[in-house]
Symmetry: C2
Subunit: 575 residues, 2 copies
């Protein structure tokens, strides 16, 4: 139902009749997770395992769609044994799952597969809290910090951020998390702000696990559409999640009962000084002088962390004075873990669908597919998508001693079908350009995509999870802007059937030339866990870049000066 708050009237009372359900709320997840504790067979399962009920914690898992004719708003509830550790995910109570109806809020079915349960991993090996760990500690890192003597170089008014040559708006969405919009860059040469990005966000994060057995086959999360990547955002810790020079913004969303919920320090914004070089050149060819000109690099980062159950995702938007936007993704937190009887690989005679990480502990194989919605408006709304293919030219006329060279053959995508691309198969630069604007030299104004990890799905295309995630069948798609096409897996993703995804919209093969277009880019990771990822995983990083390409007349940071270095003498430090 749509309601107009200002007039207090109902705008639309249309009831959605299609497949799929809205995101799970935190409230109903909490209630559903309590249901097993009043379900006698579950309590018997705990007793059989000798587990102390008060140390058992349960969580809700979406169950996807596997061809069922009728679907209800059901989830599976699986449980963990926290007893002595904060790392509940490392201690799954194997063989036990309850099917719960979220609307009726009751247990529909319960199953305990094991007569003789598999042993739980020991609590001690799973702990990650410094206060609970035993010496030796290390490696030891000396104090280090970024300092800005004159304060930060950015300003925030409401949610609009201005820094160096960039302006943009930071928004929050319960489903997507951060939304960056109206990003424009000041062109020193033209003396005006020029549009780059109308709106960008993570439209979906598809995480299919690769264990086909009883309690795992349905584990194919859609973190945005099912769990809410924004709802799952964590409060950032000053000094560790973000450097000392960071500023923070809160976020608010409405709980299922309408109460506002605050995520304190949901965003941090900071100038990143990593010791990188913006540009440089040393010239030794000139007589009697050596010229060295170097500009050190600083960028502005907007960061969030979304903790979807076990996994922590670090999402960075990094704006560079050179006009690039870098998109960083860090994977950390706890792996999806399955219990097992094994303590050594030499006992294993079957596919365990994962890596044996520790005694009785299997890190299950899985993928992460981040699909970014990028409504670029390169120097205006009407844009085109260009594939600049690098093609080998064979020289046959003996005009040169060379037998070959490569050149660029550019192709403008006319319709959506022209813009479906799997990366890595063909050398090409992918650009969003403004076909109506050229540089003084006559080059078409644009930005190009420098892709990151380009893993593609390994599920077969007619497997149910892949039908629902058909938007990952290509790394790159382009669509004409359509207000209703925001969520790449469909408006209602929980238990969806794949009939409302980017793959289905795109079948219309609409015209995309010289129009307001949206670039959908999927960055993928296959994850074979290793013992280093246990009990908590060192960040695995990936990212991609949007880089100005004949957008400016020349290097936009040619006339930037390196930030001054300031020395502080005679200081008294406070630890």
């Amino acid at each position: 139902m749509s309601v107009d708050l200002s007039s207090g009237s109902i705008v639309s009372s249309k009831v959605y009749q299609g497949h799929g359900f809205p995101m799970l709320t935190f409230g109903e997840q909490a209630r559903a997770s309590q249901l097993p504790f009043s379900h006698q067979p579950f309590l018997e399962s705990l007793k059989k395992r000798g587990l102390n009920e008060s140390e058992v914690l349960c969580a809700c898992f979406t169950i996807g769609w596997f061809g069922e004719a009728k679907t209800k708003r059901n989830v599976k509830v699986k449980c963990y044994y926290a007893n002595g550790t904060a790392n509940l995910y490392a201690r799954p109570v194997e063989g036990v799952a309850a099917l719960v109806d979220l609307d009726d809020m009751k247990v529909l079915d319960y199953n305990d597969r094991y007569v003789v349960p598999v042993p739980l991993p020991k609590a001690e090996a799973t702990e990650y809290r410094a206060s609970k760990l035993k010496p030796p500690f290390g490696p030891k890192l000396k104090p280090i910090a970024v300092s800005q003597h004159d304060g930060p170089g950015f300003s925030i008014h409401a949610h609009t951020v201005s820094w160096a040559n960039w302006n943009f708006h930071v928004g929050f969405d319960i489903r997507a998390g951060p939304i960056i919009s109206l990003a424009s860059i000041f062109d020193l040469h033209k003396q005006k702000h020029r549009q780059v990005l109308y709106r960008g966000f993570i439209s979906e994060l598809f995480v299919p696990y690769q264990d086909p057995t009883e309690e795992w086959y349905y584990t194919t999360y859609f973190d945005c559409g099912e769990y809410g990547f924004g709802q799952s955002m964590s409060s950032l810790q000053p000094l560790t999640d973000c450097p000392p020079n960071a500023a923070f913004l809160d976020a608010y969303y409405a709980a299922s009962d309408g109460t506002p919920v605050k995520i304190a320090n949901a965003f941090c914004i900071f100038e990143r000084y990593a010791g990188d070089i913006m540009w440089r050149h040393t010239e030794i060819s000139l007589p009697n002088e050596v010229i060295t000109e170097v500009r050190s690099d600083v960028s502005l980062v907007v960061r969030i962390v979304s903790t979807v159950g076990n996994y922590d995702y670090v999402i960075d938007w990094e704006f560079k004075p050179s006009g690039s936007i870098k998109f960083g993704v860090g994977l950390t937190g706890i792996l999806g873990i399955k219990g097992g009887a094994y303590t050594n690989t030499d006992q294993i005679r079957e596919d365990i669908y994962g890596t044996l990480l520790a005694d009785n502990t299997i890190g299950v194989y899985h993928d992460h597919f981040f699909t970014y919605y990028l409504d670029l408006d390169i120097d205006g709304e009407a844009n085109s998508f260009v594939k600049s293919n690098l093609e080998t030219v064979r020289v046959k006329d003996h005009s040169t001693p060379r037998k070959s060279h490569w050149t660029v053959v550019s192709e403008t995508a006319k319709t959506e079908a022209d813009a479906r691309i799997n990366l890595g198969l063909k050398p090409s630069e992918l650009l969003v350009v403004n076909p109506n604007k050229k540089t003084k030299q006559g080059n078409i104004i644009g930005y190009r995509l420098l892709p990151g990890p380009a893993a593609r799905p390994l599920l077969i295309t007619d497997d149910y999870p892949q039908i629902r995630a058909a938007f990952t069948n290509y790394n790159v798609w382009v669509t004409p802007y359509n207000k209703s096409e925001k969520w790449v897996g469909g408006s209602y993703v929980d238990r969806s059937r794949g009939d409302d995804t980017l793959a289905s919209w795109s079948l219309r093969d609409r015209e995309i030339e010289n129009k307001d277009i949206v670039l959908w880019y999927t960055m993928g990771f296959h994850h074979v866990p290793s013992q280093e990822d246990f009990p908590v995983m060192p960040t695995l990083s990936g990212g991609f870049e949007l880089r100005p390409t004949n957008f400016f007349e020349s290097n936009p940071v040619l006339k930037t000066k390196s930030p001054n270095y300031v020395q502080w003498p005679n200081c008294t430090s406070q630890h």
Copy 2:
């Protein structure tokens, strides 16, 4: 000739009879570059163009091999007009080249192709020195610095660096530049240092330009073997090339007459604190408490910059407490530029083999292929190379509602042929393992390669430059360690014929299982210049990672504490 300095005797006086010549020295390049000025036809060419002789600068260009039966140690000398700019490379004197014999140090041939020369780019647009640029300046960046209250966390004894859990040696080679050797990491659990890398360096950097015309077809640089990537290293500028907390090391090499030449501040070593997260987790599922554990990341960087003529390459070796080694490459400096009559793309009716960057200025298409020599010694010398292929499994027995999943099928390379890989064609993890050592859980101890940009050559394989650079035909090769196989393009690369490259050595298809092996990895970039790259290019970054994979029993930084944050009050600043 090999001489034993201690005994003052000749060890070997064998004369090399094969193809190819050693690196060009700076001394002979300087002398050869002066030869045109005593060559009358050249002076007439300058006069015809109205150029002031004292503002003309020349440089040496290697000419490769294009099937000639006899090769001499010849180079081409081409010239630039500095008049009013430091950016000589942006003002090539087109149509003019002298063929010089380096051994006889004389001009063999001279040619001026133009009756009516093309106009030179204007000096003003090419300038990059802040002191010569006119306002407006910007974007403006506020002071920002890294500070370490208790000093750096690393120590350097001679050239051995110790930091956090890492020990390694930093060496210098006139041809390769930095050589990192004997890198080992302290294992907190096992309480000992464990070997990771015996020796690693950039064996070659192949930069083929893609213009087949008269003065460009031979421009297919081998920056290590022809020009000396170490010889070309620039003195680093404190505070801009490296952050304020950096330490510096000098490098020395022998000039052609034996005199020692010092490169001051050739290396910098610094702790990098970029605001990244080493690992984290937020846990909201436990009753009555929210747990957030975060460790902020710090790494140790060894940096050099090698300026090979126009281009500046920023090479980083980054050691992480988590056991990863990240290899960073930054491309900056000046593009390879060709003069031309064009001032706008609408005048162009032919392939100009590049991008029109400014009036009369073409940035020529080219590639950069960085080939790393990585003699890993994973926990000992005897290692194997494993391809862990991710393969789709189709489920046909209805044992699960899933129709598919993927699993890992590992394959140990028996011989060199098994280990030639083009990246991106097949999903797999590439590992160097120690087949003789397992974790307590029974997993084989190893490190894996997380590749970076994987561009492959677009020249046809029987084109002369590609025959010489046949080592780039695959992104990954593995060979058994052989003392003589250090330089991937052969010992003598200038004018080489491709008969002494990794591709030819590897034809022997030697055994590589459970041996001291070398991993050769080529990271490639295709470069289509854009106007932003002119007159000096904002850094384009790429990199790859070696990451411990079942090398440790568990997360090696689990027990690391975040570096303390220190605040400095009551300071007086000095700009």
